[in-house]
């Protein structure tokens, strides 16, 4: 499904998610609904006509005319600081979408799903977890979520509350661990991947999203441990 052209949404709520990121709810008249994992391009226009466009994943999915984005502020960014620091309820935003039909999960898919997210790369994966929970899917879901420190996690409480016998959540902390955490901080490595994620299987689809370096490292581990590259879908959002 492709819907071209720019739409206008109105911000209905914002919520602080992390010290550098927040979620943004918008009402979008005429929104056609979207599949979990899709994104939108957001366009900002300055008074002199200067424009900047960036892509952001949707944390929401399904029918309805309200959507949710979640954005992390990039230190050298041009668009993300505006979205995180300046945008407020009642403001209008232009965007096009829903976009992308490859990095998506549909409720009718029956295979097990492994999600691996780094930082704000968890956003499209959160949409998949929500879609999975809402649809009562029998597919087994696991999420391995890598963050620098506990406070850097997007949707932490909601994800924890959704964990049940069909959704297993594992945290990885790269800089700071919570008090009493059994292991020291560290990057996602082969040992952790083999311990907490699904083993290679033709009945498995894996989605990885995060900074480019994270996606490269994790997808290499998966392929090295026997996963079929055709069953590992990746989405990079830049950065280190």
């Amino acid at each position: 499904m492709v819907t071209s052209g720019w739409k206008v949404g109105t911000v209905t709520a914002t919520r602080t998610q992390t010290p550098t990121g927040r979620s943004i709810d918008l009402a979008v008249p005429g929104w056609p609904g979207n599949v979990a994992g899709q994104h939108v391009d957001v366009r900002l226009t300055a008074p002199d006509g200067y424009r900047a466009v960036r892509s952001y994943s949707l944390a929401s999915s399904g029918p309805g005319e309200s959507i949710q984005l979640a954005v992390d502020r990039l230190p050298e960014g041009e668009v993300s600081p505006y979205l995180v620091d300046d945008l407020r309820p009642g403001d209008q935003l232009e965007f096009r979408g829903p976009l992308g039909g490859w990095f998506v999960w549909r409720p009718e898919q029956v295979e097990n799903v492994q999600l691996i997210g780094g930082g704000s790369g968890v956003v499209p994966l959160v949409a998949m977890v929500r879609s999975h929970a809402a649809g009562g899917s029998a597919a087994k879901f696991r999420l391995l979520y890598s963050v620098r420190a506990p406070e850097d996690a997007f949707f932490a409480d909601e994800l924890a509350a959704l964990a049940n016998d069909t959704f297993e959540l594992t945290w990885a902390y790269t800089r700071t661990v919570p008090a009493g955490w059994p292991t020291p901080p560290g990057r996602v490595n082969r040992e952790l991947v083999e311990r907490v994620t699904f083993a290679p299987s033709p009945n498995l689809m894996t989605f990885i999203c995060g900074p480019t370096g994270f996606v490269e490292a994790v997808s290499n581990i998966l392929v090295d441990t026997g996963h079929d590259p055709a069953r590992v879908k990746t989405e990079r959002f830049g950065g280190a």
């Binding site: 226009t45 300055a46 008074p47 041009e78 505006y82 300046d86 209008q92 232009e94």
Partner: protein
């Protein structure tokens, strides 16, 4: 239909009268990358000028360094809207390199290591307007900024100053280079805001 975004002005955009229209001043030196950064050792580096007769004029690094080297102080303007004022470079003038080149063609294609191309009229490369530059602010030019050597053609938008310069080929007619085939202007004068065609 278009709406303006309340409170958004873009990064550091301002109306400095010293700048070409639509530009903002930056103290950084932003890196633009359309592909992997070529790593060219000066041991294997060479620069050529190829004319319509098939004659290839060729310089290796040692030969380039033996030519008269000039200090250049100039403003530079990127089509992505940043400008830097009073930057300092060292390089060899294209007047020196074209001294023994016999051509009746009026246009030039710049070719880079890595495959990039950009087109320019020959007249814009001569009369003290262009250099093969290999130092920036007293340091060897970083590979990210086009080292070991790039073209420096500061009176046009900076995409005309090809990084990782490898050679120039004379052309009978003005042919578009990499970005010029994709919507960018054939000439690119920043003071006339010739960004796109």
């Amino acid at each position: 239909m278009s709406i303006f975004t309340r409170g958004f002005s873009g990064r550091g955009r301002d109306n400095n009268p010293a700048l070409p229209p639509g530009q903002y001043l930056t103290e950084d030196f932003p890196v633009l990358s359309a592909g992997p950064t070529p790593r060219i050792d000066t041991d294997v580096w060479e620069f050529t000028i190829t004319t319509e007769s098939g004659t290839v004029h060729r310089w290796n690094w040692e030969q380039l360094m033996a030519l008269p080297i000039e200090d250049i102080h100039t403003d530079i303007h990127c089509v992505t809207r940043w400008s830097k004022l009073a930057t300092g470079w060292r390089g060899v003038s294209l007047d020196t390199l074209f001294a023994d080149v016999d051509t009746s063609y009026e246009y030039v294609m710049e070719h880079s290591y890595g495959g990039y191309t950009t087109n320019v009229p020959l007249a814009d490369l001569l009369d003290g307007q262009a250099w093969i530059a290999f130092e920036f602010e007293g340091e060897p030019l970083d590979p990210e900024h086009g080292g070991p050597a790039r073209l420096l053609l500061p009176h046009l938008y900076f995409w005309k100053s090809a990084k990782w310069i490898r050679g120039l080929t004379m052309m009978a007619e003005d042919q578009p280079g990499f970005w010029e085939q994709n919507g960018y202007h054939m000439y690119g004068d920043p003071f006339k805001e010739e960004r796109y065609w």
